[in-house]
């Protein structure tokens, strides 16, 4: 750079300080760009739910519910909950990678709303949940799944899924802030998710489980969410189902968002 170009470069006036909301939108734009530049992540995102849906429906469906067709009715809402849970891991891994590369040092030294980088991660999460959810629902419909509550029920169920993804997202963001290697974030996250997701009513009816396990399954937030999503899609959800399902995401946000901010700003 010569003196002339640096004079032009440095002569520019500072723009007015943008709002926190505008900062958050910029990070959302970054999350959306990642889909364009890292198409590999779409493969994971698309293949895993397709495989799970097909395998479970045809391999276990008959044994678990009498026939694959009957199993689809209970399983599609469940696999949606499961997929959203596992998808939440991506932001945590991305965050951990950004932190270990020092990218967040730049963000931290900017005069921006401190939560805005995380809002951007959440935007990425929402996009991932919607893409994966739409794929699963399409396969389900193609295989014969019929949501008894119609379009309204499906939209309401997807909103519940996003609420759950939002709550789960904080767990992985905190893990991402604490752990400097993305793979470890994934391992730690799955160690926590596996019992929650599999000891639930997603795949099987808890009535067949031993009492001690059923006691856990019945209060497991994943079970509560699955019950609500099933009810909303297939018909028959009560407002109590919906409220119970929203307790965990609300608690997680109330506790983890301030913790995230504290971990991020601690210096």
């Amino acid at each position: 750079m010569n003196d002339a170009s640096s004079a032009v470069l440095l002569g520019v006036a500072r723009p007015a300080k943008p709002s926190g909301f505008s900062n958050a939108l910029v990070f959302g734009w970054r999350a959306a760009l990642k889909f364009r530049y890292v198409p590999e992540q779409m493969f994971d995102l698309v293949m895993t739910p397709i495989m799970f849906t097909l395998l479970f429906t045809f391999v276990f469906g008959g044994a678990l519910a009498g026939s694959p067709a009957q199993y689809l009715q209970v399983f599609i809402p469940g696999i949606l909950v499961q997929t959203v849970s596992f998808n939440a891991v991506y932001s945590g891994m991305g965050l951990s990678a950004d932190l270990s590369k020092g990218l967040f040092d730049r963000f931290r030294s900017l005069p921006i709303w401190p939560l805005s980088p995380f809002a951007g991660l959440m935007v990425g999460d929402v996009l991932r949940h919607l893409i994966a959810g739409a794929i699963i629902l399409s396969i389900g419909l193609a295989l014969g799944y019929r949501p008894g509550a119609g379009l309204f029920g499906v939209v309401a169920a997807f909103l519940m899924l996003l609420a759950m993804g939002f709550g789960m997202g904080w767990i992985f963001i905190v893990l991402g802030l604490l752990i400097r290697t993305p793979m470890t974030v994934m391992t730690a996250g799955f160690a926590f998710l596996f019992p929650l997701v599999f000891a639930s009513n997603i795949m099987v009816d808890p009535a067949t489980m031993p009492d001690w396990l059923r006691a856990f399954v019945n209060v497991n937030p994943v079970t509560l969410m699955t019950t609500a999503v099933r009810g909303l899609m297939n018909g028959g959800a009560t407002s109590a189902d919906v409220l119970m399902a929203l307790i965990a995401p609300a608690l997680l946000t109330a506790v983890m968002a301030p913790l995230t901010l504290w971990l991020y700003l601690r210096r």
Partner: protein, 320 residues
Amino acid sequence: MSDQLAIAARGLIKRFGEVSAVDGIDLDVPRGMIFAILGPNGAGKTTLMRMLATLSRPDGGSATVMGHDVISAPASVRAAIAMTGQFASLDEDLTGRDNLVLLARLWGFRGHGAKKRADDLLAAFELTDAATRQVKDYSGGMRRRLDIAASLVVTPGVLFLDEPTTGLDPSARQSVWKMIRGLANAGVTILLTTQYLEEADQLAARIAVIDRGKKIAEGTSRELKAQVGSGFLHVHIADQGRIDDAATVLEQHLGHSVRRSAEGGALAVVAGSSAAAAKAVAALTAQGIEVSDFALGSPSLDEVFFSLTGRERAEEEQKQ
């Protein structure tokens, strides 16, 4: 008084467990100056810079940057500074242009203005051709330039550059130097850290030498050289086998420790006066040690570092 200073630090301390990474450093950097912090790996340069850039909270002491307190007014400090860290802080998945547009938007440039700002920066840093490539495909020199460009989206009062040329080849290093000089000419205060004595010598109006978390010397390059003593005697010994003998003789005659070149064969020592130097060379010859070449001159900054710390930079780096 502190209004005239870009940076004023008093007794800064940062501990990591038992280690005092920064152990009571004072620093006064006038506005508009290129100021270098020179020290070996692990000296505490990055830790010091992170405290000044509000990324790390001091365990003791105080500092202001452009008149704002780093502890009580970090947001005001952040609005007045930019930092290019030791490792590129770029999003590798995005293109160079997207990285700059992202930052321009975060600073408040909107729509077309943000794109124009990004393109102006790319042009000034000779990255226009690579603008639409992903950063992960950039060379080390290009990455460094983009990283510095990213710090200039709005003109900072103080620009922090942590080891801006470490790992670059000589031509990339030259281009970063040219850029740093251009910025300084335009009035930006620059605080840079370096392990290269030559870099500090070439760029900086003032240099603080730090070692093990403490400032051990400060001044212009000329003052530092004077502080060590002028009259550095450089001696080449023909017979490698007699290097140890030669070093002993020189130490006895001149009373200062002798510094050996990495390749062996060359010795350097503070001589004080030309008369003392001549006597020392004569003593070598009298011992039957053949001197192939000798010269009296001012010390290099490497030699300055050696006489300030009594240690080689190289051996310090090997320990790391």
